[in-house]
């Protein structure tokens, strides 16, 4: 098998994984979405450029435990900012296999772009940005180890962002 061929397979698998993750988030399939994460997960939406999440504010800075709390809150049905839930449609594109992490897990470092329309009674909001992902190959397929969402409009006011971005 040539390198080019294996890269092609990897990319196809990566894309399928990203599309599934996007669909589960769009459909508020909380438990299934949560199941995509590894135990050392990091879900990060920075509030500004060049920030260290350990010492500065983030829109979201969830470890695995906090992802679970976020999901549990949504599942109560009384997370009013998502009850009723936003209607969501997102497109993932520009998927790029950037490299392989040098840790033993061999995480795939993946970049992608997204555009997401959120429709609520409040109106429509277009969310867009760059995804920086670390996908871990496991016996059960790819898992999400790290997801960083670089919103294009993060320097300015953001409306409520209570769905899974």
């Amino acid at each position: 098998m040539t390198d080019a061929h294996s890269t092609e397979i990897a990319l196809a698998e990566i894309e399928q994984f990203l599309y599934r993750e996007a669909r589960l988030a769009d459909e508020h399939a909380y438990a299934e979405w949560e199941g995509l994460w590894t135990d050392d997960a990091h879900y990060w939406v920075p509030a500004a450029d060049d920030r260290d999440p350990a010492s500065t504010m983030s829109v979201i800075n969830d470890n695995r435990r906090r992802i679970a709390t976020r999901i549990q809150q949504l599942e109560t049905g009384r997370r009013y900012a998502q009850s009723p839930p936003s209607r969501l449609a997102r497109t993932i594109s520009n998927v790029e296999l950037i490299g392989v992490g040098d840790d033993p897990a061999g995480d795939l470092l993946v970049g992608a772009s997204f555009v997401l329309v959120e429709a609520t009674e409040r109106g429509r909001h277009v969310w867009a940005g760059r995804l920086r992902l670390q996908l871990r190959p496991t016996d059960d397929g790819l898992r999400l180890a790290r997801k960083t969402v670089d919103l294009v409009d993060r320097p300015w006011h953001l409306p409520t962002l209570a769905f899974l971005i």
């Binding site: 500004a48 350990a54 500065t56 979201i60 709390t69 006011h157 953001l158 409306p159 409520t160 971005i165």
Partner: protein, 426 residues
């Protein structure tokens, strides 16, 4: 009063009663315009914190309502609040959030201003009859600037009561917060979340010390976390809501914290979780005082009209339009409390801002409030909760149970005094 922006006038006479206020106060553009003139561009407004501009040449962009400002520390060490508007043709002179600079150069025609606002130079001076001919055109400064424990306030009116009078007993709550730092100062440089609510600013202010809503609006997170916040505002709570006067109000949770008596319980922790902080505070204040501070915790106080100190988070409210308000939020960080600060930041990020597990739901309520008052019946918003159990404390402040609408009534009493026709204020 150089900052009058409109000739529209609105009267709030007859719209504010002791136990109810009229819905149109949240929806009328005329009322909003009058509020800008009579409150936001006249009263003491919280602008920023001295720690945001620690060194000479430091600056940050700030605001009062829709007006863009710059807070600077010039070479003389003084903190100033400047209007972000070139004195030539009105261009923004600063479009970066903050940094360090020797001057602000307006990109439109190259006018150059010092961080103290002085006009340092302008290209092709012969068109103005030479250099130094425009001494009347500095970057205008806020008419009055004063600070309390590093919190910088500005008033855009040259006359009015001094800051200490405006703050009244709210000043003590700010001081109480700062005392929790082993070094006696805050460091508010963790950056900001800017969360927009499609709602009138008064819905936000009213909610900040409303102890009635948490068990309902935040029931979802209380039920899945191990949070004890819900109980603090329950019917059995010993905590009180206090009208501090001047439109300021607080939820004083100390009676509950004292009855538990465990240092750092207020933060949902114990001393051994933040050993370096606890040791530093004990060294700085002595064991007895440090223990008292760690038991009583941080305040939950709304400083009229735009500074909300919520134990672990500083919120700054910025009204942009009658139905649009931005909530700026940053984590409280105590100088000399690194191990505590990491935890404060983590909790603050989890609870505040657009994705916050508390504030997203508060903001949802603000927006539904705004949508709801589009219905014109019933015309009034009711504020009577706890009227019959209101009492006066030893300092003369009205207090009531943890979930009474004391703070809301205090807000409106002060608001009416500022907005009333013929209030006699300049």
């Amino acid at each position: 009063m150089p900052h009058v922006t409109t000739n529209r006038s609105a009267t709030v006479d007859g719209l504010i009663e002791p136990t109810r206020v009229h819905g149109s106060l949240y929806t009328s553009p005329d009322v909003f315009a009058a509020e800008l003139e009579q409150i936001w561009y006249r009263e003491w407004i919280y602008v920023g914190h001295e720690s945001e501009v620690p060194s000479a040449g430091d600056f940050v962009r700030k605001s009062i309502g829709p007006q863009p400002l710059i807070m600077t520390r010039a070479a003389d060490g003084e903190v100033r609040v400047l209007h972000n508007r070139c004195s030539h043709r009105g261009n923004l002179v600063c479009v970066t959030d903050g940094g360090n600079a020797s001057s602000f150069r307006c990109p439109f025609h190259g006018w150059n201003f010092g961080l103290d606002g002085r006009l340092l130079g302008y290209p092709h001076p012969e068109g103005y009859g030479g250099r130094n001919a425009l001494d009347d055109l500095p970057l205008p400064q806020a008419a009055r600037v004063a600070s309390h424990e590093g919190f910088v306030f500005a008033s855009l009116a040259s006359d009015g009561p001094p800051l200490e009078e405006h703050l009244g007993d709210a000043a003590g709550e700010i001081t109480r917060l700062v005392q929790l730092s082993p070094e006696g100062r805050l460091d508010l440089r963790a950056g900001w979340l800017h969360h927009e609510a499609r709602a009138n600013w008064k819905f936000l202010v009213e909610n900040e010390t409303d102890g009635y809503h948490p068990q309902f609006v935040h029931g979802s997170i209380f039920s899945v976390g191990d949070s004890r916040i819900g109980d603090l505002y329950g019917e059995k709570s010993a905590a009180v809501t206090r009208d501090l006067g001047g439109g300021h109000s607080e939820n004083d949770l100390r009676p509950e914290f004292r009855s538990v008596g465990t240092p750092m319980w207020w933060f949902g922790a114990s001393e051994d979780r933040v050993p370096a902080y606890a040791a530093a505070l004990r060294r700085a204040r002595g064991d007895a005082e440090a223990e008292r501070l760690m038991v009583e915790g941080a305040p939950h106080v709304m400083v009229f009209p735009n500074l909300f100190i919520a134990e672990i988070t500083i919120f700054v409210l910025q009204p942009l339009a009658v139905d649009r308000t931005v909530q700026h939020a940053t984590a409280i960080q105590f100088a000399g409390g690194e191990d505590l600060n990491r935890r404060l930041l983590h909790q603050c990020v989890g609870s505040a801002g657009p994705a916050g597990m508390l504030l997203a739901d508060d903001t949802e309520m603000y927006e539904r409030n705004q949508a709801g008052v589009a219905a014109l019946e019933p015309e009034w918003i009711d504020t009577r909760r706890g009227m019959d159990r209101e009492r006066v404390d030893e300092r003369g402040h009205p207090v009531g149970s943890a979930n009474d609408e004391i703070g809301i009534r205090g807000f409106w009493r002060h608001y009416r005094s500022l907005m009333a026709d013929g209030s006699g204020r300049p």
